[in-house]
């Protein structure tokens, strides 16, 4: 399919949707209304689960809170449905923030189990509150008016539903391309890397969760005023489970997948309700079984859903032009020779083992210092203590005069310490430039709202120029829009260096940067590090490759069995018999 055909197909589809009430049957409009209402919820699931990796079976409860909030305000209080929308958003947002604050710190399988549990609790609550009509629900919810135009007819509210859906999709799409959107996309695959970039994982998770709940609330608001009746049944946890499966079938992670999944499941349900009763008196039961079979087969054989299959016919988006713009402001580098990092009496025990016993050293601004030692010497533990991944049992770490002992990773990163990982941690499904842009997160400001409304374009251009500059600098500039996962390991390490540089750090700590690099790659890396020194950036290398370290660093700290063996310039370290013994064994 060429680009022109793709555009024509898109325009034709929008035109068909826009004129639908004129030429399709009333029943089809009802179906389309439901698809739109479901797609709004599924859009939230796509953002939360597909992109952010947080599985929720409880979205139906948020739809319910939104629907009940507006139903109560417009019937019991006689308020306008538009006030009902505001009320639905406020109540749902508040409940989601509360539930999220409690459960979002738990990752893995606890969160989805939790969502099932509170999904059920909220459902039972609806059915037992007197003011909400208990299990009978609330009738006579007023229709929505725009000016004096009533949206009571199905074909009228149809436009409101699909305009709202289109708007929501646009905002979510914008958000995902923004600074916070990249943070959401980076959530999948472990929090340590994300926190090390100065990103507050919990905050990003919480806001994403609330955004998904707000989308559900809008859906609930539309539902309440379309069907003009609310009861607990449509907000059961089983419906919440179906929303998740709509996202998975559509293609979780794809914005359009929300519509595709919602349409697929709605049409299928409808078809099954027509067909199954012809075969058996137990149509309803068979329907649940058919769905289970489809879900299990889809999860076994087509986890990506329908969208990847569709997308292979759609031409890839043209690469954006190389970013041009003024780069981001840089920090004032500390004066060369001034103490930058001071480690004093650092102690870490794992059970009875003292992995690091009273290690102390100093790194002055503008230096390249190597931390070396044989396997098991405690280098990586020292590294993790300095960067806040592990908590020390005693001792202090000072950076630029501030005490950062046992501070969290995020604070240390924001103070100006960037790091790389021994086992490369990148987001392989994101482009090179997006990975590097993650590094520039603490240097930029745009939040969720500015990102969704595209008010961040000036800052985005500057950040992009910065990222492109860092990629050029490490020699990956021409591949900026390729996926990071397609790079060979050696170049992935280099990409991590570019990401660290994008943070404009005062100190970069490298964890075995030369491992897995070829000889010319090592030479290029050494050249890059020397260039950094000229710019006043301080480098601490934790490295195994003695040859690489010797030719590069100003000073070496040698560790063995958890203690500092000695420190000094490369030549004296090389000549020291204790170091030789540690590495080569005793001669005697």
């Amino acid at each position: 399919m060429s680009r022109t055909t793709a555009y024509l197909v898109t325009i034709a589809m929008i035109a068909m949707l826009a004129t639908a009430p004129l030429w399709v049957a009333e029943f089809t409009i009802t179906l389309l209304n439901y698809i739109g209402i479901y797609a709004l919820v599924v859009l939230g699931v796509v953002l939360l689960t597909g992109v952010g990796g947080l599985t929720s079976f409880g979205q139906a409860a948020f739809v319910g809170i939104g629907a009940y909030a507006t139903a109560w305000l417009t019937t019991a209080q006689g308020a306008s449905p538009w006030l009902g929308l505001v009320f639905a958003l406020v109540v749902t947002g508040a409940v989601a923030a509360l539930l999220g604050a409690v459960t979002l710190r738990l990752g893995g399988h606890f969160l989805p189990l939790g969502t099932i549990a509170w999904g059920l609790a909220i459902y039972f609550l609806f059915g037992n509150i007197e003011g909400l009509g208990r299990h009978n629900g609330m009738a006579d919810v007023p229709p929505i008016y725009i000016g004096s135009v009533s949206l009571e007819p199905n074909s009228a509210i149809y436009y409101l539903i699909w305009v709202m859906l289109a708007l929501a999709m646009l905002l979510v799409a914008n958000l995902l391309q923004s600074r916070e959107g990249r943070a959401i996309r980076s959530l999948r695959g472990g929090a340590v890397m994300v926190e090390s970039l100065g990103i507050n994982v919990f905050r990003v998770r919480l806001i994403t969760f609330v955004v998904a709940a707000l989308l559900a609330a809008v859906s609930g608001w539309l539902y309440a005023h379309m069907s003009r009746f609310v009861s607990p049944t449509p907000f059961d946890v089983r419906m919440g489970i179906q929303y998740l499966f709509m996202a998975i079938l559509g293609g979780s992670g794809q914005i359009l997948g929300a519509v595709v999944g919602a349409a697929l499941l709605t049409v299928l349900t409808n078809a099954l309700q027509d067909i199954l009763p012809r075969f058996s008196a137990n149509g309803e039961q068979l329907q649940a079984i058919v769905f289970a079979v489809i879900y299990v087969l889809a999860l076994q054989f087509a986890r990506g859903g329908v969208m990847p299959f569709v997308l292979q016919f759609v031409p890839r988006r043209r690469k954006p032009p190389a970013a041009s713009g003024e780069p981001l402001p840089r920090r004032q580098m500390p004066e060369a020779g001034r103490p930058l990092l001071t480690v004093h009496g650092l102690l870490k025990r794992f059970g009875g083992l003292e992995a690091v016993s009273r290690v102390g050293f100093e790194v002055a601004a503008g230096e390249i210092v190597g931390l070396i030692g044989p396997n098991g010497a405690g280098k990586s533990t020292v590294f993790n203590l300095i960067t806040g991944v592990l908590r020390s049992d005693d001792g202090t770490v000072n950076f630029l005069g501030a005490d950062i002992t046992n501070a969290n990773q995020r604070r240390i990163a924001r103070a100006g310490v960037a790091r790389t990982f021994q086992h490369v941690k990148l987001r392989s499904s994101m482009s090179l430039i997006d990975n590097v842009l993650l590094g520039a997160y603490p240097r930029t400001r745009a939040g969720f709202v500015r990102g969704a409304l595209r008010l961040d374009l000036a800052e985005e251009a500057r950040a992009r120029a910065e990222a492109q500059h860092q990629l050029d600098r490490v020699g990956l500039g021409t591949e900026a829009y390729d996926l990071a996962g397609n790079l060979p390991l050696g170049r992935q390490r280099i990409l991590e260096v570019a990401r660290a540089l994008a943070a404009d750090p005062a100190l970069i700590i490298f964890d075995e940067p030369a491992a897995g690099l070829s000889r010319p790659e090592k030479a290029a890396l050494a050249e890059l590090l020397r260039g950094l020194r000229k710019e006043g950036v301080t480098v601490l290398l934790v490295e195994h490759d003695v040859e690489f370290v010797m030719g590069l660093v100003d000073r070496i700290v040698v560790m063995d069995f958890g203690s500092k063996l000695m420190e000094g310039p490369p030549a004296s370290v090389r000549a020291d018999p204790r170091v030789q013994e540690a590495y080569l064994g005793s001669v005697v």
Binding site: V102, P112, E195
Partner: protein, 350 residues
């Protein structure tokens, strides 16, 4: 509330809690060995009670058809699997294990349907009918995904709840049943009366927990399960077959569920879909134990039972809200005690 009422509620709660203990132990057993958070586990409990109820009414238990359906599906999958791998000689073993074996109790039940039998024979038969359900589901839906992430396995198991409740409605109908009490004695201890049914529930929970402990500590198969739950790759290296251990874990858990169903059916009216809620309550207990600790699960499950009992005295229609809301403070405590961010890969797509 007088102390007497509190005592009665407490005993009642512990009795219900003891059922959640058995179900919770099964859940933890499955999770630790296979990494599957088996949400439809409660359905097996309900099916067990419904099977016994049908037998007591001299009806053909729907479990027979359920087993036949599942066994047929499992056999098809076995045949396809082995033909695909070009090892048809291994097919026989699979067909015997997943086709013939589950059909033995089904055939016995079919042949003896309508005959009056002593109660304990009926119970044994009901347990034998329900026990193969777990391993069959494992073979059909979960084993093809054995290497998937915990999250994906959880999503599949949630999908299975739809299927099982559909099958339940198909084979057991929408009617609710309650079985005859197993015993009818009433004991008085001072001011407190206690039914023998309560005692039976408590004693069964204690005995089967103990049996599970003995199995894990003193048998080779039990040690293999423990080894698998501690380190899957390591267990594989020393020759423990992962397929074998997961089938065994599901069989044992299924047995626990069957026994729980027999014990709970005289005190609660069971419907085809009652299992979902029972299973989730046991999950709340298991999550208190972190989904890994057997004693933690037992304590958590007893606590859920007692809480439910007191909540239903306070406001019977809100007891579910109270029980499921309990998970929120539990999760808060867990997340606060979580020292380190876990680096588990949270990928949905494989």
């Amino acid at each position: 509330m007088t102390p007497d009422i509190a005592l009665i509620l407490g005993i009642d709660g512990i009795a219900t809690g003891s059922i959640y203990v058995l179900v919770g132990l099964g859940l933890v057993l499955i999770f630790s060995v296979t990494r599957v958070v088996f949400v439809p586990f409660g359905d097996i409990v309900a099916f067990s009670g419904l099977t016994l109820a049908a037998m007591q009414l001299n009806r053909m238990p729907g479990t027979i058809y359920l087993l036949a359906t599942l066994a047929l599906l499992a056999c098809v999958i076995e045949v396809v699997h082995h033909l695909w791998r070009r090892q048809p000689q291994r097919m026989v073993r699979g067909l015997v294990l997943y086709g013939l074996l589950p059909l033995v109790p089904a055939a016995i039940a079919w042949l003896t349907a309508g005959m009056s039998m002593p109660a304990f024979v009926q119970i044994l038969l009901a347990i034998a009918l329900v026990a193969p359900i777990g391993p069959l589901i494992e073979r059909i839906a979960l084993r093809p995904l054995a290497d998937a992430s915990v999250l994906l396995l959880l999503i599949v198991s949630v999908a299975l709840t739809f299927g099982l409740s559909g099958l339940g409605l198909l084979f057991f109908g929408a009617e609710g049943f309650r079985t005859k009490p197993l015993t009818n004695e009433i004991f008085r201890l001072g001011s407190v009366t206690m039914t023998s049914q309560t005692l039976l529930m408590l004693a069964s929970a204690a005995v089967f927990s103990l049996l599970l402990f003995v199995f894990f500590e003193h048998t080779l198969a039990g040690k293999a399960l423990r080894a698998t739950s501690i380190n899957r790759v390591g267990a594989r290296i020393v020759g423990i077959r992962p397929a074998g251990t997961s089938a065994l874990a599901f069989l044992l858990a299924s047995l626990l569920a069957a026994i729980s169903g027999i014990l709970i059916s005289p005190v609660t009216t069971l419907y085809y879909d009652s299992g979902f809620i029972i299973g989730l309550k046991a999950f709340v207990g298991a999550i208190i134990g972190g989904l890994v600790s057997y004693p933690g699960t037992a304590i958590g499950a007893l606590f859920v039972g007692v809480l439910e009992s007191f909540a239903s005295f306070w406001n019977s229609s809100l007891k579910e809200v109270v029980v499921f809301s309990l998970l929120i403070p539990v999760m808060l405590l867990r997340s606060l005690s979580l020292a380190q961010v876990d680096e588990e890969d949270e990928e949905v797509q494989g």
